[in-house]
């Protein structure tokens, strides 16, 4: 039944609309997530919270574990929490953001930040200590030295972004609750896949999945080229 519709104009238009929204929501979430997550990941990777005392070491390890744990935030729970925050009677209700793309971005952002942070943390940790020392020795401020280390860790940082983007673009449980999957407004590729699956239209669901992956592939091809350009010989 949906299949005849495949070639209707509106159908294609809707697919386009859905695809663009997917990209917009996940792209924005990951972008902001990177802006927040990379600095935190850098700080943690450097062990800036790690002093010489036992206590600060425990704090450092705990923070890192929390980040690692939050890489596995269940989307549905995040969606629910965002819902409860944005609902009319909730603390942020007056902003009127519920069931908007913004709500979806917030949801995915919450999931993207720990992922970017966690992978960045590990990438930074694997850059040799000497890079930072050299930068400091050459007169760099802590911030400039961090920047230099980031530059050397760029492959890993880009992986952090790629992983977060993968998680965001494929996520559905959270944006479904926070965005409401409203047609033409908050419907994305993944939520559309869920709708079609519920209808038993498995073919269409998989077709949408392939569209999703194709787009992700093009983006990743670009990112991968950048990533492996930056790789050390």
């Amino acid at each position: 039944m949906m299949c005849e519709k495949m070639f209707e104009n509106t159908f294609l238009e809707e697919i386009l609309n859905i695809t663009l929204l997917s990209l917009k929501v996940s792209g924005t979430a990951v972008l902001i997530g990177a802006i927040i997550g990379i600095p935190i990941g850098t700080a943690l990777g450097f062990g800036w919270f790690k002093g010489k005392m036992m206590l600060t070491r425990i704090i450092d390890l705990t923070l890192k574990s929390i980040v690692n744990t939050f890489m596995g935030l269940p989307p549905v729970v995040v969606g629910l929490v965002v819902y409860l925050l944005l609902t009319t009677s909730g603390p942020l209700g007056p902003l009127g953001l519920l069931y908007t793309p913004t709500a979806m971005i917030i949801t995915q952002l919450i999931m993207a930040v720990p992922i970017v942070t966690g992978v960045t943390m590990s990438a930074i940790g694997s850059v040799e200590k000497t890079v930072r020392e050299r930068a400091l020795s050459l007169g760099a401020t802590d911030r400039q030295a961090a920047w230099t280390v980031l530059r050397e860790a760029r492959t890993g940082i880009l992986t952090a972004v790629i992983v977060a983007f993968g998680a965001a673009i494929s996520e559905v449980g959270g944006i479904m609750i926070a965005g409401g999957n409203i047609r033409w407004v908050t419907r994305t590729l993944t939520t559309a896949i869920v709708v079609e699956t519920n209808l038993g239209n498995f073919d269409l669901a998989i077709t949408l999945g392939i569209i999703l992956l194709s787009i992700a592939f093009i983006i990743n091809l670009a990112l991968t080229i950048i990533q492996f350009r930056g790789q050390k010989r």
């Binding site: 409401g180 409203i182 519920n198 209808l199 038993g200």
Partner: protein, 287 residues
């Protein structure tokens, strides 16, 4: 209950049903009683109606319990499903903001109510949230609109919001947006306490009745499936005992599903012309 499930030597019956039935909690109440009696284990897969039927058609379930007449009929016509029988029904209600800008409160004619919502909608005073997921509920809603000669879409009508999500979410969206919506009573009761600004506005319209059917998966197509178990489960649900148990399942003191299997006349009205034959056939089968 746990020990009961641990002994999984028992034959397994896979029941594919819709989320709306499963989420009512009725099956969790009903099925253990069946399992105790028949020494079987029922695995409930709760998905969308379309998906439930698709699962049945592919032979991944032994029996389906769904509510979407067209899909059910095509399932039976394709000979993958057999012996469709109405088992119980509940009703849809129109809910909306207590302020009721469309003024539909206490109407018993849902078509009229929809007309008023639409009218007000075009004036920008009212909005309506549709599940827009081609679920049983959504099909009902679309049928009413089509009776008014309207094919709504939120691309063209700003007042018509198509939220492709579960009933609970749709209720929440309606609550947030102060919109009207069509819901099954069971989900309404589950979510009622979270929907502070909403009331039931229209109910008891005949056309809002929502019957659920049982369909067995054709054993000729899938000989390896547990046809006997499916038959036993169906027989249990349409038995007097089963129907009584259904009638006794209540939430907040309200009955969620009303027995249908043995109300031949009502069943015929609700789209089960062969109810008496099927009932006779089931009663004839050995347990």
């Amino acid at each position: 209950a746990y020990e009961h499930y641990l002994s999984s030597q028992k034959p397994i019956i896979v029941l594919a049903t819709t989320t709306s039935v499963y989420d009512s909690g009725m099956l969790d109440y009903l099925i253990p009683k069946f399992e105790n009696k028949h020494h079987a284990e029922v695995h409930v897969i709760s998905v969308g109606t379309g998906q439930a039927i698709e699962i049945g058609r592919r032979g991944d379930a032994d029996i389906v319990l769904v509510h979407s007449k067209n899909l059910e009929l095509s399932f039976v016509n394709s000979t993958y499903g057999i012996h469709r029988i109405g088992v119980f029904y509940n009703d849809f209600i129109i809910v909306g903001p207590a302020s009721d800008p469309a003024g539909i409160k206490n109407l018993t004619n849902s078509t009229e109510a929809f007309r008023r919502i639409c009218e007000r909608g075009f004036r920008g005073d009212a909005t309506f949230v549709s599940r827009a997921d081609k679920s049983g509920t959504n099909m009902f809603e679309l049928k009413i609109w089509s009776m008014l000669g309207i094919t709504p879409s939120n691309k063209t009508y700003a007042w018509y919001i198509e939220a492709g999500t579960g009933m609970g979410s749709v209720l929440r969206i309606s609550n947030e947006k102060g919109s009207y919506t069509l819901t099954d009573r069971s989900t309404w009761l589950s979510f009622k306490r979270q929907l502070k600004d909403m009331d039931i506005l229209v109910q008891d319209d005949k056309i809002l009745t929502n019957p659920y059917a049982i369909i067995l998966v054709n054993p000729e197509k899938y000989p390896n499936r547990n046809y006997k178990g499916a038959l036993a489960l169906a027989k249990f649900m349409i038995s007097n005992e089963g129907q009584e148990l259904i009638a006794n399942y209540k939430k907040n003191g309200e009955m969620l599903f009303k027995p249908l299997a043995r109300k031949i006349e009502l069943a015929r009205e609700l789209g089960f012309p062969d109810q008496s034959n099927e009932l006779a056939w089931y009663d004839k089968q050995k347990p």
